[in-house]
């Protein structure tokens, strides 16, 4: 596996993403919504409420960063994989002296890195907003805490990897970008549901829950890796991909 080859594929896709306003704005909008707009909205709506209540609401927002990390690849990967199909550029790409693994890794990085960058930027904005509020009200910086670190540093990347893998599989079955996004959205829905339910029903300490989630996501990611790798074979792509 030559990582530099995968990087060439990924950087090309970054160029395509930059040129595609729909993806570009989606990547920018998500961190603004989850990292700034949503916490600000809660703070405004709950203005005057007891600090404990506000804190418990804000605590639930942490998991949104994992949700965001799972959602963004549905937008990027659908263009990255199905876009190649639509432009019929897979054959010349596959004709280059690049292995299937290098191409797959490059494509996955192209979906993973911008998604995670957006997630980190969103989380940074979120920390700034919450800390401004908490310092003003309690004289302490509430974030980052262990739970946010676990979610952004562990759960979110794993959810993102899982989503990318799911999108590779989805992309092999459809030949329309919108259909890929819709199907990709449906496929990542269970991931989002697990994350949301886990945070809503606090049946175990939040930090432990984040670790359990990470474990589950890691197992699912490894299983899906083999499926997506089997899907992304030259032969398969040229003869069976729709």
């Amino acid at each position: 596996m030559r990582l530099w080859k995968a990087w060439i594929v990924a950087t090309k896709d970054f160029g395509v993403i930059r040129e595609n306003k729909y993806i570009f704005y989606s990547i920018i909008a998500m961190p603004l919504i989850f990292g700034m707009a949503l916490p600000l909205m809660i703070l405004i709506l709950l203005a005057g409420a007891p600090v404990d209540v506000v804190m418990s609401f804000l605590g639930m927002l942490n998991v949104f960063f994992a949700v965001m990390a799972a959602m963004l690849p549905t937008v990027i990967a659908s263009y990255s994989f199905v876009g190649e199909k639509v432009e019929r550029s897979l054959e010349p790409l596959l004709a280059t002296p690049t292995t299937d693994g290098e191409l797959l890794l490059g494509k996955c990085l192209a979906a993973f890195l911008p998604s995670m960058a957006a997630t980190f930027i969103g989380a940074a904005g979120y920390v700034a907003v919450i800390d401004l509020w908490s310092y003003a009200n309690q004289g302490v910086f509430m974030l980052p805490n262990l739970n946010l670190a676990l979610i952004v540093g562990l759960v979110a990347p794993l959810a993102c990897i899982l989503s990318v893998e799911a999108n590779v599989i989805v992309s092999s079955r459809v030949s329309d970008v919108r259909a890929a996004q819709q199907l990709g959205g449906i496929v990542v829905l269970p991931i989002i549901l697990v994350l949301m339910l886990g945070s809503l029903f606090a049946f175990m300490p939040a930090d432990l829950l984040a670790l359990v989630m990470s474990g589950v996501l890691a197992i699912a990611a490894v299983a899906l890796f083999y499926v997506s790798k089997a899907t992304f074979q030259r032969e398969e792509i040229l003869t069976r991909w729709k």
Partner: protein, 309 residues
């Protein structure tokens, strides 16, 4: 440069290519002629290591398409122009070529020179920074050809290089292929454009799942039927036909309108005697022409024969 032996590819019950045995020499321009779904693209894909063969052997230069390591080397030494141009519409012409140059491991300096050389040659250097999506079909095809040449491949596979192009764009592409031919590159062209095959190729193979025939355009046409002499007369009558039929050189003769159509082994040697005989028998010869079978005749005959089987 290309050598196959009983190369076969099946997709389930469907046989796309059956027992293909052929040899293409270095520097040769080889044309693969056949109708749609004849196995032309499948053959190219097998030779470029894009899909696996079901059975048989295939080698490109010193490398076998069976060995995954060799496949990387094969893909590095061949250039492919697929049936669909497959360029990135959202990237500029330059960036498209630069991306492929990197994947083909062309050094940055060489890449820059090569892109400039190819785009200038194809007359699109001035538009190098325009998005490919803004180009016409013909221009996109030119860029796709430039992409196939970015790494200076020894062997070039062109799958229907002028399909869907207008006559002017087709001519530009054909002229470019002729220039490449002068550079002594080995070129393998898939086409169902007979005229193009005749103009560009040193040898032609006609395929319909199986390889039906192979040879130079001239030899294929000659092989179909003997050359015929057509003698245009003011009036034709059975007496003239009888006179020429008596000649030993004439293997077959028939009348069509005011013409006598004669089948002979060596028209250059025998035509003077035939004309003399006709004149002596009272015929008035207006002119003498040659009737040759064309590549189209050969192609249609071969394809119809397979359909009949």
């Amino acid at each position: 440069m290309i050598e196959t032996e009983n190369l076969t590819r099946r997709f389930g019950k469907l046989t796309a290519v059956e027992n293909l045995t052929l040899k293409v020499e270095e520097g040769e321009v080889f044309g693969f002629l056949g109708p749609n779904a004849a196995g032309k693209t499948t053959t190219i894909r097998m030779l470029c290591c894009l899909i696996a063969k079901t059975s048989g052997k295939a080698r490109i230069g010193d490398f076998s398409v069976d060995d995954p390591e060799d496949c990387l080397k094969i893909r590095k030494m061949v250039g492919l122009l697929p049936g669909d141009v497959g360029l990135y519409d959202g990237l500029s012409a330059y960036k498209n070529l630069d991306f492929y140059g990197k994947l083909y491991e062309v050094s940055p300096e060489r890449r820059e020179d090569k892109i400039k050389q190819l785009l200038s040659l194809l007359g699109i250097w001035e538009r190098r920074d325009d998005l490919v999506g803004t180009f016409s079909k013909g221009t996109k095809q030119k860029i796709a050809i430039a992409r196939a040449l970015i790494h200076d491949p020894k062997l070039l596979f062109l799958d229907e290089p002028t399909a869907n192009l207008d006559p002017e764009a087709s001519k530009t592409v054909r002229d470019f292929v002729l220039d490449l031919k002068k550079e002594k590159r080995t070129i393998f062209i898939n086409t169902h454009n007979l005229d193009e095959a005749e103009r560009l190729c040193d040898r032609i193979g006609i395929i319909k799942t199986r390889l039906l025939t192979i040879g130079s355009p001239g030899s294929l046409a000659r092989g179909l039927q003997a050359r015929k002499t057509v003698i245009h007369l003011r009036h034709v009558n059975p007496k003239l036909l009888a006179a020429v039929e008596k000649l030993r050189a004439v293997k077959d003769a028939r009348i069509a309108d005011n013409k006598l159509i004669l089948d002979m082994d060596d028209p250059e040697r025998d035509n003077p005697e035939v004309v003399r005989t006709i004149v002596e028998a009272g015929g008035s010869v207006q002119y003498v022409t040659e009737l040759r079978s064309t590549l189209e005749d050969v192609y249609l005959k071969m394809i119809r024969e397979t359909e009949d089987q």
